[in-house]
């Protein structure tokens, strides 16, 4: 499944969805939200997903983030089929491979910024001192090291989202999943957050999937997709046979 990218390097597939379907039964009515989604995501991709409200973007995100299981179809993460995994394995994989960023930040209100960032490391069983050191470093990286000891209610929306991004990235996940990360931010802050994603994508080959309603946000992603009628389609195919990471504007 590997392809050659422009520089002739191996661009490895991080995740792939094969004919993923998801339906919800509300009483006697069964609604099929995802109707056969196929998607391959390569290391270094920055991919946007757009689509009308209720089309199943978050549903797909939950499946990608191992929080939910498809009704049918296969999902491979780093070549491993996740369908057969039990809850503990999924939790460990989520901790190791996935970083979440949510529209409403979802920071833990009673913890300080650095403590929030340290949570994924804590669940990995790291010692306090190590977890703290790495959390502080990650906060510096996203430009908010000075606020390490603030609690979420002492931070602005943009600052909170930076903390959330630091938390998503501190465990060095394979992929960052962001569900409307700029949805609660004003245009300027939103732009800053997108620049941060673009920078991390360019400098560190961060792989990211960003759900958004904002065309501006989508424009900054090299790969742009839409969901309609339960099917995901790519706005324009990746350039050439492969794709160049970090080519977003």
């Amino acid at each position: 499944m590997d392809q050659k990218d422009n520089e002739g390097q191996e661009a490895s597939v991080i995740l792939s969805l094969v004919d993923v379907r998801k339906s919800y039964a509300t009483g006697p009515v069964v609604a099929e939200i995802l109707r056969g989604v196929r998607l391959d995501v390569y290391r270094g991709d920055l991919l946007s997903i757009m689509g009308p409200s209720g089309c199943g973007k978050s549903t797909l995100m939950n499946i990608l983030g191992l929080l939910d299981q498809p009704t049918s179809g296969s999902f491979f993460l780093n070549g491993r089929e996740i369908g057969a995994m039990d809850d503990d394995e999924l939790s460990a994989l989520r901790n190791a491979s996935i970083g979440f960023v949510f529209q409403s930040f979802h920071l833990l209100p009673r913890l300080t910024a650095w403590e929030n960032v340290a949570v994924p490391l804590v669940y990995r069983g790291l010692a306090s001192a190590t977890a703290q050191r790495r959390a502080l470093k990650q906060l510096d990286k996203v430009g908010i090291g000075a606020r390490a000891n603030h609690r979420p209610d002492q931070l602005s929306g943009g600052q909170r989202q930076r903390v959330a991004i630091a938390r998503a990235l501190v465990g060095e996940p394979d992929i960052l999943l962001a569900d409307e990360p700029t949805g609660a931010l004003d245009a300027e802050t939103s732009d800053e957050i997108m620049q941060l994603f673009a920078r991390l994508n360019a400098e560190e080959r961060l792989t990211g999937i960003i759900i958004t309603h904002d065309r501006e946000v989508a424009r900054q992603c090299a790969r742009r997709t839409r969901i309609s009628d339960g099917v995901l389609s790519e706005a324009e195919p990746p350039r050439g046979a492969g794709h160049a990471p970090g080519t977003g504007d």
Partner: protein
């Protein structure tokens, strides 16, 4: 320290502090439960020790023999001094001190008359009743029918208050007879004795036979022969007196016997306090469960976030379990404090020697944490089984 354990403890404390009112209610429930158990156990233990100390002060090999009302007509039954002393011929009895009792007014010039107890006793009395001389000497067998006396500390104090410095050698008049003081006793707590020796005047039994209006023997203090089982001795003593004086009602008490009875009572007490403590703990425990259930439903989003960040079900379960144990343990500590405080107050009131029963404290803390685990289990289980997607949506 692992970051997880540290974070869990911190989180538990801060989330409990955040839900002040509910936390407080559950806390009070458990604290009352633990506190009352602690107080009751401690007071029980202290009371028992106090009684044991009194028994042991006299010696656990001491028997008290008393003669009770006998027959339907009632009335005190009694034996003669010789009959009483005959009990020592039993192999089970090593020594005996029969005594006759007479109550009298003790008048000192210019003072109010005092009630005193006249004891007509043999030379064995001080030894069997652990009476110690302060000055002078005890009554001896050589004082046969003489008007000598040994006085208790309160009687001595009353005499000294009139200005007499050297009591030994002084003559005092009691109930129409004049006695020469040959000795003064040390102050002795009443303990298990049938008489308060501090307010007593001891005269030779042979003298008492002449002057007491009722010189018969109603009580005997006796000592078991070494290695004798107290129940055997009690039976033998009863048989002996019934043989020489048919129809007499003999009551024999031994320290061992009383201690056994006390242990039985303590078991009953323990059962009672176990149920009282159990009920309050149940009430408190349900309070804890309620706090935890509300906490779980209020923090669904937090649970979802933690799951998204890689927490396993076990991690969520232990987080909430730790929280309920922290809550119960805090209540337990408060309860232990309150229980110890109440015990202290009771000891002040009753003049018992206050001490903290480590058994009770350990039990309190142990029971509190067990309650935390027990009543926290179901809420924690619910938290752990929450579907992450639903939990993340919150509300």
């Amino acid at each position: 320290m692992l970051a997880l354990a540290q974070a869990n403890l911190k989180e538990a404390a801060s989330s409990l502090l955040a839900a002040k009112q509910r936390t407080l209610l559950a806390l009070v429930g458990i604290a009352i439960g633990i506190g009352s158990v602690i107080a009751m156990i401690s007071v029980g233990v202290i009371a028992r020790d106090e009684a044991l100390r009194q028994f042991q002060e006299l010696g656990t090999d001491i028997l008290t023999i008393t003669f009770q009302h006998s027959g339907p007509a009632g009335g005190l039954s009694a034996v003669t001094p010789d009959e009483a002393l005959g009990v020592t011929r039993l192999a089970a009895i090593a020594a005996a001190a029969p005594y006759a009792v007479s109550y009298a007014q003790f008048a000192l010039p210019g003072r109010e008359a005092k009630d005193v107890m006249l004891l007509g006793a043999t030379a064995t009395l001080p030894d069997l009743n652990k009476l110690k001389i302060e000055t002078g000497r005890h009554i001896s067998d050589l004082d046969l029918r003489r008007y000598f006396c040994v006085i208790g500390s309160e009687v001595a104090a009353a005499l000294r208050a009139t200005g007499i410095q050297r009591l030994v050698g002084e003559a005092i008049e009691v109930a129409g007879s004049v006695y020469t003081i040959v000795g003064v006793l040390r102050r002795t707590p009443k303990g298990m004795r049938d008489f308060d020796v501090n307010h007593s005047i001891i005269v030779p039994l042979s003298t008492a036979q002449r002057v007491f209006r009722q010189p018969e023997i109603h009580s005997i203090t006796a000592r078991l022969s070494p290695g004798t089982y107290h129940v055997t001795a009690e039976l033998k003593v009863g048989d002996y007196f019934r043989r020489i004086s048919p129809g007499i009602e003999v009551r024999v008490r031994s320290a061992e016997h009383l201690i056994e009875q006390m242990h039985k009572q303590m078991r009953l007490f323990a059962l009672l306090l176990g149920s009282v403590g159990g009920i309050s703990l149940l009430v408190g425990g349900i309070g804890v469960m309620n706090v935890m259930l509300v906490s779980v439903s209020e923090r669904r989003r937090e649970i979802g976030i933690r799951r998204a960040l890689g927490a396993r079900r076990m991690d969520i379960q232990s987080q909430f379990l730790i929280e309920s144990v922290v809550l119960s343990l805090a209540a337990g500590v408060i309860g232990v404090g309150a229980g110890v405080g109440v015990t202290w107050a009771i000891c002040q009131f009753t003049d018992w020697a206050f001490r903290i029963s480590m058994l009770a404290v350990g039990l309190g803390v142990g029971v509190a944490s067990a309650a935390g685990v027990f009543f926290g289990f179901y809420p924690a289980y619910r938290a752990a089984r929450l579907d992450p997607v639903t939990a993340l949506r919150g509300s």
